[in-house]
């Protein structure tokens, strides 16, 4: 084992940039993806029939094709098509549209939207009907029932599952190294190519992923524990006995 390359400030900078990009992509994809997931769940449960079908088709296509294929499809396919749009290089969006980050985020947002959309749909269906009925009986509007009662309860029910989805998302991020984005894996690849050390950079970033996962799990567990109205029996910090 030789970790002497770690003292090189250039490699430190690569790793740091890769780490920051990884977290940033995780955050953007998680926020955007969960918003899309709520929309997909709502479309399937309450949307007019064409919209419900569209949401079903979206979910089926995204969940039925490999994430890496989707990433290539958007980056090489859609990305190339965008380049051909007249005047796009002069538009204010170009600095964003030419970045692999944009295509990575787009792919992951769609992915989270499809997978978590199904999770949230299931959770929304598990909220006891009586609770929503009580909201309607007291004169709350459909929108108020949704935002004040239905969604908070559904998210409470599926929070542990969503935590799992977020961990899977974190570990999908290294796929973007294939579209030339500087993430942790890309940093490790550069270090390997230049130092001919194969295992040490991989071990290092594996450790970083593991540590990030643990932190992510604990943070989301904290959110879960502090969710108002938590069952008394479930109030344990670590979800182990």
């Amino acid at each position: 084992m030789d970790f002497s390359w770690l003292s090189d400030p250039f490699y430190q900078a690569y790793l740091w940039e890769g780490f920051v990009n990884t977290l940033w992509l995780l955050l953007v994809s998680a926020v955007g993806g969960l918003l899309l997931a709520v929309a997909v769940a709502l479309a399937r449960l309450r949307g007019p029939r064409p919209l419900a079908w569209l949401a079903w088709a979206f979910t089926t296509v995204i969940r039925g094709t490999p994430l890496l294929v989707q990433l290539f499809f958007f980056y090489y396919g859609v990305g190339r098509l965008l380049e051909g749009v007249p005047g796009i290089r002069d538009s204010i969006f170009w600095p964003l549209l030419r970045e692999p980050f944009f295509f990575g985020a787009l792919t992951f947002i769609l992915s989270v939207g499809a997978y978590s959309g199904e999770v949230i749909r299931g959770a929304m269906q598990s909220v006891p009907r009586g609770e929503l009925e009580a909201g309607r009986a007291f004169g709350l509007s459909s929108f108020q029932v949704l935002t004040r009662l239905w969604l908070p309860r559904a998210i409470q029910l599926c929070l542990p599952t969503l935590t799992g989805e977020m961990i899977l998302l974190l570990k999908s991020v290294p796929l973007v190294s294939t579209i030339a984005m500087m993430d942790l894996l890309q940093a490790a690849n550069i270090i390997r190519d230049e130092t001919f050390r194969v295992y040490e950079p991989l071990l290092l970033i594996a450790g970083i992923y593991l540590a990030t996962t643990v932190v992510l799990t604990l943070v989301l567990r904290l959110v879960e524990l502090n969710f108002p109205g938590m069952q008394p029996t479930q109030r344990r910090w670590l979800p182990i006995r």
Binding site: E133, A134, R136, A137, L140, G229
Partner: protein, 263 residues
């Protein structure tokens, strides 16, 4: 205890709700067959009958959780504007009117139906804030008053999962009272409770009856219905088989077989 929150009771006996010739079908099954019912302001009406007789459906028509297929309904002196098709069947409602009138008719459910992610007080102030537009401060004062009224002031910060069934139902009653409704609906409020918890909830409801609140109850507690009601309605297979004072109904030969054990 009198307080500024309590509305003065109305001396005149104007009806709080009038249902006229209601028909309700679930598919082929006719659950309510031409039922008419009126609850006078300041009085208590109980609906009794066997399971499946349409009691709960009738109650749920009063705030339109169930939409009747035929008939007329007036809540707080205001006729519901139903949309009807050429045959006269009800096919739609005026959403705005519905929300406005529902704020005047509060309901207590068999399964409590508290909102588990809101505290005791949170449950009570939610609708006054969102529906009646009260400020959090006003709603909290109101909520604390009614929690006190049902003996749950010390549980204002407790979440439903930490409370017994009887405590949850008392909070649900405070939630209904905080709307300061013209009419209180109770759908078998003690049926989901342990036997030893029934009396604490019945005690609260009895207190409300004594205050002269307008109430419509569906209950299996015959003795209780007899004691608190001004009007008793015996429903049998979707029809009103007998109605009148509790004495009338309990003496009516058509329902003696049903009410006999309690008489």
């Amino acid at each position: 205890m009198t307080s500024s929150f309590e509305r003065p009771l109305r001396p005149q006996a104007a009806p709080a709700v009038v249902a006229d010739h209601l028909i309700k079908r679930f598919g082929e099954l006719e659950v309510l067959k031409d039922v008419s019912l009126s609850v006078a302001e300041g009085t208590v009406t109980s609906i009794i009958g066997a399971s499946g007789s349409g009691k709960s459906t009738l109650l749920r028509c009063m705030n339109l959780l169930e939409r009747p297929d035929r008939g007329e309904l007036a809540i707080a002196d205001e006729a519901i504007r139903f949309a009807r098709n050429a045959q006269g069947d009800i096919v739609g409602l005026d959403r705005r009117q519905l929300q406005r009138l529902r704020a005047k008719v509060a309901m207590v459910f068999q399964q409590f139906n508290l909102w588990p992610h809101l505290s005791g007080l949170g449950n009570v102030i939610e609708a006054p804030m969102r529906v009646k537009g009260l400020s959090r401060k006003q709603a909290t004062a109101l909520g604390e008053h009614y929690l006190e009224r049902v003996g749950m002031a010390d549980k204002r910060d407790a979440y439903p999962a930490f409370l017994s069934g009887g405590q949850q139902q008392r909070i649900a009653i405070a939630r209904a009272l905080a709307m300061e409704p013209r009419l209180l609906l109770f759908d078998e409020p003690t049926s989901a409770l342990d036997p030893e918890r029934v009396n604490e909830v019945l005690g609260v409801i009895r207190g409300l009856a004594d205050e002269g609140r307008t109430m419509l109850l569906v209950t299996h507690e015959m003795r209780f219905a007899r004691e608190v009601s001004d009007q008793l309605v015996y429903l049998d297979q979707g029809c009103i088989a007998a109605e009148g004072t509790p004495q009338d109904v309990f003496d009516d030969p058509r329902c003696r077989h049903f009410v006999a054990p309690a008489a």
